[in-house]
Structures are given as structure tokens and as C-alpha cells.
Symmetry: C2
């Protein structure tokens, strides 16, 4: 299968900028146009953990495998460049499954000007596994990190949270353009993408920044899907879903107060950007009570 | 598991050059010391295809996962820099299995000055899967590729071939240092690492170079293991094993005749370097008969 498949991939991808050698050698050569630092990330998706082939099309699996990596680069406010893709295919479904996965992946790649540097396609007796490693570069503003939040910073979030399992987890738009625009035009202290739920990811940003995060429950934007799912399964409220369903892949940003005021007034994105809390001195994750006091909040994110 | 595991990995790796952010953010920042082109590769190893946990230790699995990628960079005569590691662990064996895999991987990484940029460690109900994506750089001599061989070039191979399944497939030394030395001191036309067997990999080099490869059967260096295995399983001769067992991870080089003469006389490596044939005009893979004529040779490599 390998030669025929590489031939198909070569035709499908065509000539790619910055990759003079094309696909099929032992490794790819990448010629960088700029000299900024590289940004590297890698995510492995496994069947029945990150997706189910009974609920997602193979195209969606390929889409998601790249999208979660693009979301990681968005969290760093980095510009994506090129991807390496590795797939282990259930033997009876190859090679058709591989082509469909690549169709979904490459459609997203073209939206973000990401080239395909290469990869590794194998068959085995196990379930479907796909790994994407993504290479990007920082802009001249340097990287955004998890560790820069300071007490007093405002916490802002893009989009709406919860209920991603209704379908958004495999069709979301990674917030790359949004992160680049915000990082370019405003001063941001810290950023993280919400992969495992607002509560858990906010607690991670708090830990890396050495401060605390106080969330205002009434300000958290709850998605329509989270409300619908809560009606069908009342054991978990819409708010709980927004806090801990995970796989929202929205951005959580810590922003100095003056910049946050300007940002919230400008609303420069095509998606909502709302204030959901504040960074505080006290380490840990908190909810702010109506009287202004803080109560501990459990980082109940979805951990794979 | 994730936080505790990242804490362990951070302690295990310590401060790493060129990675100012350390492990644990959404992505790694890599500061390059030089401005040569990047070289990127990625390989996915799956249980019971690339290794068996009944025959390999977890340390060997981690070692092999990095080593196969180092071998790809050796084939390009590139200098390895940093690795991204993704692991899907059988749930009942984690996290102990993850640590043992990393011990093997990091011991090899330190031998080749490869840092750990990050990765992704998950549990699932499936078998063990490990992906390594490796980032390197070309030297000032540029990359060595599969496509540069020309009729008249001599074919040289490092080491001895066949029988890797006796153990060498998970403990081989990737020929990074050898490739860098040869590429620096001699003019090489093309190179490939022997991952799927001399016959198949030679036919790949032939195809990418647009010429043919004529092998001299009596010159092919056969390993002790290949001879032992052929005694135990006489259905396949030592030569057949050297041609097609695969996973030798030695280098096959096409070298202009004058350079080949100098190289063979110098023997600049600590391992043998022998001439096994020649590039010819006629496309395809050939064996040279005693009378000098060519007979077609099947590219009977081991295709995963």
C-alpha cells in the first residue's frame, strides 16, 4: 500500500511552499521564511477515547487530529506552518479509511495554510490511531504562555462552553486567527486553549502562573448544546457542563485590566469574547460569591 | 496521571538547551542556534507489529521509537535536535510502563544530544502505541536525499545485514554520526536508511533517482544472526535474510566512483563500509551475474 498511497498523497498535496523535497524521502526538508522561534506540538488521538467511528466520519477524525494541534498553537499565539501525520489503520479498513482521514485533515490544513511535511501510515490489528505533530513559529511578539498571568489580570474567554460532545468536538474552528489578532493588537499576559474543560484548564494556568483564578459563575458563556444536554440528562447542570465537559477548544486569556477594558469594548473578533473572572493572589481555583468572597472550586475537568 | 507524570518528566529531563519554556505548556518553544533548513520526520510504532512486549522491555520500545527516527535523520545526513513523543498506554500498565519507555528513550536521546520538546501521554483500552516526531537541521552541506544517485555511482553499505529480529531491531545504533562524518568529508550522491530490507530500500532509491541499482550478491555483508537464523529455519537463506529481513537501520549510499575508492581505502568509520554494487542506466533493481550481465531482482523487502 505504501507506494500507491504516497503517490496519491503527492498528487493530492501538489507542490508545497517551503518543502522543496516533497513527500516520500526519509524525512522532510523545511525552509523557513523567517527566523522566529519554532513552536512544536504533538497530539495522539485514539479510537473510542477521542472519537468513535460510529459517531464521526473518517473526515472528521482527520479534521480533529489537526484541529487539536492548531488549537495548541493558537494557545501560544503562534503561526502554524507544517504537519507530520502518523496513522495506524485497522487492517480491514485500509486504504480507503486513510484517504478519507487525509481528506478531512487536508481540508482544514488548507484553511490555515498548513502544509503536509510527511508522515507514516501503517496497518495493524488494533483500533484507529492518529498522531499529528505540528510545527509553527512565533510572531515578532514572541509566544503567549500559560505562565504569565498576574493578580489583577482579567480572565476572558472566546465563544461558548460545554456540550462539545454533541458534535463540536470534531468540527470546531481552532482559534488561530483570533489568537494572532489579539496577541498582535493587545497586550496579553497568558493564554491556554480549553481542551479539558474551563475549570481544569484555568487551574493549570493558575498553577503555571503562580497565582489564583477566581471565576464568576454567572458570567460563564454556556453553549446551546450544553443546555440541551442538561435537559436530557439533568444530573449535570448547564454550568457544570460549561466548566468540565472539555473539548471546547476556545481560548482562555489573562489580560491586564486596561487592555481587557479596551478589548471588551472593541470586540475585535467575529465570535463573542467575554469576561468571566479575575486572577487573584491566592493560589488555586476559586468561584467568587455574590458578596465578593472566594470559595474553592474543584478543577473538575475531563481528564482523558 | 498527567500532572504527576509531567512533574516526573520535568525532573528527569532537567533544563534543556534551546527549550526556554520547558515541558508542560500547550506547545514547546524551540530556539535554533543556526539557520540551516529544518529536517522533520515522524514514526509510529505499534505493539505486535514493530515490537512485542513479550520479547522487548519497555525501555527497548522507547529506545527503538526514537532510534528509528534518528535513523531517518541519518539518512538525510541531518543533525537531530529535539523530539516530540506521544504514547497511548494500555490502561492497566500505566503509569509504570510510561516511565520505563521514557527511560529507554531518554538514554538514547542523551547519547545524541536530543532534547525532549514535549508530547502527549494517554491511556486507553488498546495495545501500546508510541509515536516520535523528530526535528533536526541540515548541516552547511545541505541534505542527503534518496534522489541523487547517478549511473556509475558505487553502492556502499554500512554494517551487516539480516537477522535483526534476533534483537538488533530494538537495540541498533542509528548511524547519525557516521552519516554526518561521511557527508562532511566526502561527496555522496544519495542515501537511504535500510528500514525495510536492502532489496526494497535499494529499489526505492533507484526509483527516486530515476536510475537502476545492480547488486553483487557475493558482496552483501551478512550478519551472524542472519546465518544463525538460516540454520534454524533453512527455508530462507542467509542472503535472502540480508536482502529482505528489514529493520537493519544501516545506511545505503550512492557514491561517485572516485569518492568511493577514497572512502573504501580510508575506512573512516568504526564499522565496516563495503561496496555491494553500482548504479546503472536501466531503471529497477538488478543482480549482477558472474558474466557481468544483469538479471531482475525482486524488491522483496518487509513491508509493514
Amino acid at each position: 500500500m505504501e507506494l500507491e498511497f504516497i503517490t496519491w498523497l503527492r498528487e493530492r498535496t501538489g507542490r508545497q511552499p517551503h518543502l522543496p523535497l516533497g513527500l516520500g524521502d526519509d524525512a522532510a526538508i523545511l525552509q523557513l521564511a523567517e527566523q522566529n522561534d519554532l513552536v512544536l506540538t504533538s497530539d495522539l488521538l485514539t479510537e473510542d477515547v477521542h472519537f468513535r467511528l460510529t459517531q464521526c466520519t473518517p473526515q472528521q477524525v482527520g479534521y480533529k487530529a489537526l484541529a487539536v494541534n492548531l488549537s495548541d498553537l493558537a494557545a501560544m499565539a503562534a503561526r502554524p506552518i507544517t504537519a507530520l501525520v502518523s496513522i495506524a489503520l485497522p487492517r480491514q479498513l485500509a486504504p480507503q479509511l486513510a484517504r478519507e482521514i487525509y481528506e478531512g485533515l487536508l481540508s482544514l490544513a488548507s484553511q490555515f495554510n498548513v502544509t503536509l511535511a510527511g508522515g507514516d501510515t501503517n496497518c495493524w490489528e488494533g483500533p484507529l490511531v492518529i498522531n499529528v505533530a505540528l510545527v509553527g513559529q512565533t510572531t515578532s511578539r514572541g509566544p503567549l504562555t500559560r505562565g504569565g498571568a498576574q493578580p489583577g489580570d482579567q480572565l476572558l474567554v472566546t465563544g461558548e462552553l460545554g456540550g462539545s460532545l454533541a458534535g463540536r468536538h470534531a468540527s470546531f474552528t481552532p482559534r488561530v486567527r483570533e489568537a494572532l489578532l489579539l496577541h498582535e493588537c493587545y497586550t496579553l499576559s497568558a493564554g491556554i486553549d480549553l481542551s479539558d474543560g474551563l475549570a481544569l484548564d484555568a487551574s493549570r494556568m493558575a498553577r503555571e502562573s503562580g497565582c489564583g483564578m477566581a471565576l464568576e459563575m454567572t458570567a460563564i458563556p454556556i453553549s446551546t448544546e450544553a443546555r440541551q444536554m442538561a435537559r436530557q440528562q439533568p444530573a449535570r447542570s448547564p454550568l457544570e457542563r460549561a466548566l468540565s465537559d472539555g473539548e471546547d477548544f476556545e481560548l482562555l486569556l489573562a489580560v491586564p485590566p486596561d487592555q481587557a477594558d479596551r478589548l471588551l469594548a472593541d470586540q475585535p473578533l467575529k465570535i463573542p469574547l467575554v469576561r468571566i473572572g479575575q486572577c487573584v493572589e491566592q493560589a488555586g481555583l476559586w468561584q467568587r460569591n455574590p458578596d465578593g468572597s472566594l470559595a474553592a472550586l474543584s478543577p473538575r475537568g475531563y481528564e482523558h
